[in-house]
């Protein structure tokens, strides 16, 4: 391959990557500048590295509590999703009958329905079970949001797994139920990893439902904390940017660490074969 072709290929790829990265750069730039230097004066590409914005934004928007709430709800929700979705996926894939077919089809339809549609009746339900501003109810709600897609991923994956995997365990004295937990579940690791990342991020980013069911200041999750910062402190750009950086950093770090599984999971779930 000649040099110009190599160069043009890399130039194109670089432009594409930069397009995705520029907003992140601008956000960091703002977050690291002193309050007196809010924007681009005379094209200085490097910020002042003024880290005080972060500690101040952390204090003002009570980011610590928000990260705590987000972690509890995301971890709790993801664990619950793995537990119930892997079981349901197993039942649907291994015991094909009319009932499971109907359940699977309903889940498929609901996979694409936005949660906003049920906000009002859900509010009534959450109130009657005493779930407003509680971690446990939010975990249950977030888990139920993630069920359709996760069951779909697990069921598709288990369908192509050979049955012999659990059959030998059953011969050795397991019931089908214990065979699933002791044997099959370990083969599901790639899907489980994808579910953790996909659903964990979805719960972490949830705004539309958190805004209704987590109204107390103490219960705020990250998107709520950042949004309230934007609504109340209109003029302090640097602080706002710092708060936004704190808010998105955990998701970016988690994604970069698990990105291999993440991409694999989506690929397996979307266009397999």
């Amino acid at each position: 391959m000649n040099l110009t072709r190599v160069f043009s290929k890399y130039a194109l790829v670089t432009v594409m990557a930069l397009l995705s990265l520029i907003p992140f750069y601008i956000l960091l730039y703002l977050a690291l500048n002193t309050p007196s230097r809010t924007l681009f004066n005379g094209f200085v590409l490097f910020p002042d590295f003024h880290f005080a914005n972060f500690s101040q934004a952390w204090k003002v928007s009570k980011m610590g509590a928000a990260i705590g709430n987000s972690l509890i709800i995301a971890i709790g929700g993801a664990l619950l999703i793995i537990l119930v979705s892997s079981c349901a996926g197993y039942a649907i894939a291994r015991h094909q009958n009319k009932f499971h077919a109907i359940v699977f089809n309903i889940l498929l339809i609901c996979m694409m329905i936005p949660a906003i549609i049920i906000t009002v009746p859900l509010y009534t339900l959450m109130k009657s079970i005493g779930g407003i501003n509680t971690h446990w109810a939010m975990i249950l709600l977030m888990a139920s949001n993630g069920i359709p897609f996760s069951v779909f991923l697990y069921a598709s994956f288990i369908k192509v797994l050979p049955r012999e995997i659990e059959e030998s365990a059953i011969i050795d004295g397991c019931t089908p139920f214990t065979a699933f937990w002791r044997v099959t579940f370990h083969f599901l690791r790639p899907v489980t990893a994808a579910v953790v990342i996909l659903q964990g991020l979805a719960i972490w980013n949830n705004y539309g439902q958190a805004v209704f069911f987590l109204t107390s200041q103490l219960m705020r999750t990250i998107p709520l904390a950042v949004s309230i910062f934007f609504q109340q402190y209109g003029a302090q750009w640097n602080l706002m940017a710092a708060a936004a950086v704190i808010g998105l950093a955990p998701a970016v770090i988690a994604f970069l660490i698990f990105q291999k599984y993440f991409v694999k999971g989506i690929t397996a779930g979307a266009v397999k074969g």
């Binding site: 790829v13 594409m16 681009f40 349901a88 936005p114 906003i116 069920i147 139920f177 705004y207």
Partner: protein, 293 residues
């Protein structure tokens, strides 16, 4: 004891139950309740009265609501083709082998990892008419004339929102195309090359036909996703100027905050009806591949 033993041995047949109960309680049950609430004049305070289909009649008389349906559909019709075009081109570029391929793929996917709300705020920094990043860059390049109040103008505001949505989710579309591209046997291209066909021809006669399934899935999921848009709009224009960029989801939220609970639920049911059409098309696509998806 015997019964317990039998139950233990057959426990696997009931393994779907926890998921069904949880999903039934927090999704299916509220959905059925919603149909009931949409037929009342509920305002969240006083006892709701049954009013039949009056909320729906109201909706079709409401100019703002009709405009919001148009905005929502326009947004989806603008987003889906652009997402697919860019997602496809991105996939073609990143399907070739080069150093750092997986890093670039991860970078392009990165925006989709962040909440659209926070990403929307970042774009607000960039696009602010007088203080934004874009304005400063254009000023410094002596191109100040190109800088404008993009978010303040009803026509350009919707276009800006569509472009930001495309920017954020192009990685998602790209990955599905990449998966499709990787499933095309290399021999097909070799045969095509022997026959003397160039890049354009092999793209037209092999790549695109082989990607039909990915195209269908991407188009429909992008349409469904864009029909429920609200976070990016809340962050950037809050539905304005006027109601010009208000989507149906935002209208539902507004009516909810205004205590028009019954009406808001009726609008939610209408959005449900609008989204269910592409969902059924989507299901047909999956059915043909029996789980393969």
């Amino acid at each position: 004891m015997k019964i317990l033993h039998k139950l233990w041995n057959n426990l696997h047949k009931f393994m779907a139950l926890p998921a069904i109960i949880l999903f039934g309680l927090f999704f299916i049950y509220p959905l059925t309740q919603g149909i009931g609430i949409s037929l009342t004049d509920s305002n969240g305070i006083s006892q709701p009265q049954f009013i039949g289909f009056q909320n729906f009649v109201e909706f079709f008389k409401d100019e703002r609501a009709k405009k919001d349906v148009a905005t929502t559909v326009l947004f989806a019709l603008g987003s889906a083709p652009l997402l697919n075009l860019f997602g496809f081109v991105y996939a073609l570029v990143l399907d070739r082998s080069f150093k750092g391929k997986s890093v670039v793929r991860a970078i392009i996917y990165l925006p989709a990892v962040i909440s659209p709300l926070i990403m929307g705020y970042v774009w607000y920094f960039i696009l602010q008419p007088d203080r934004g990043f874009l304005h400063h860059v254009l000023q410094n390049l002596n191109l100040g004339v190109l800088s404008g109040n993009w978010l303040g103008n009803p026509k350009s505001a919707l276009i800006v929102l569509i472009l930001i949505n495309v920017w954020q989710f192009v990685g998602m579309t790209m990955i599905i195309y990449l998966a499709g591209l990787q499933s095309i046997p290399k021999e097909m291209y070799e045969a095509c090359e022997i026959d003397g066909a160039g890049y354009a021809k092999s793209l037209w006669y092999i790549t695109i036909p082989m990607l039909v399934q990915s195209i269908k899935i991407n188009v429909v999921t992008n349409i469904i996703g864009s029909l429920s848009v609200f976070e990016v709009i809340i962050a950037l224009t809050d539905g304005g100027p006027g109601y010009s960029t208000e989507s149906l989801s935002i209208y539902i939220l507004r009516m909810l905050y205004g205590s028009f609970t019954g009406y808001s639920t009726a609008v939610a049911m209408i959005l449900f009806a609008i989204i269910i059409i592409p969902v059924f098309i989507f299901m047909k696509f999956i059915k043909t591949r029996e789980f393969e998806m």
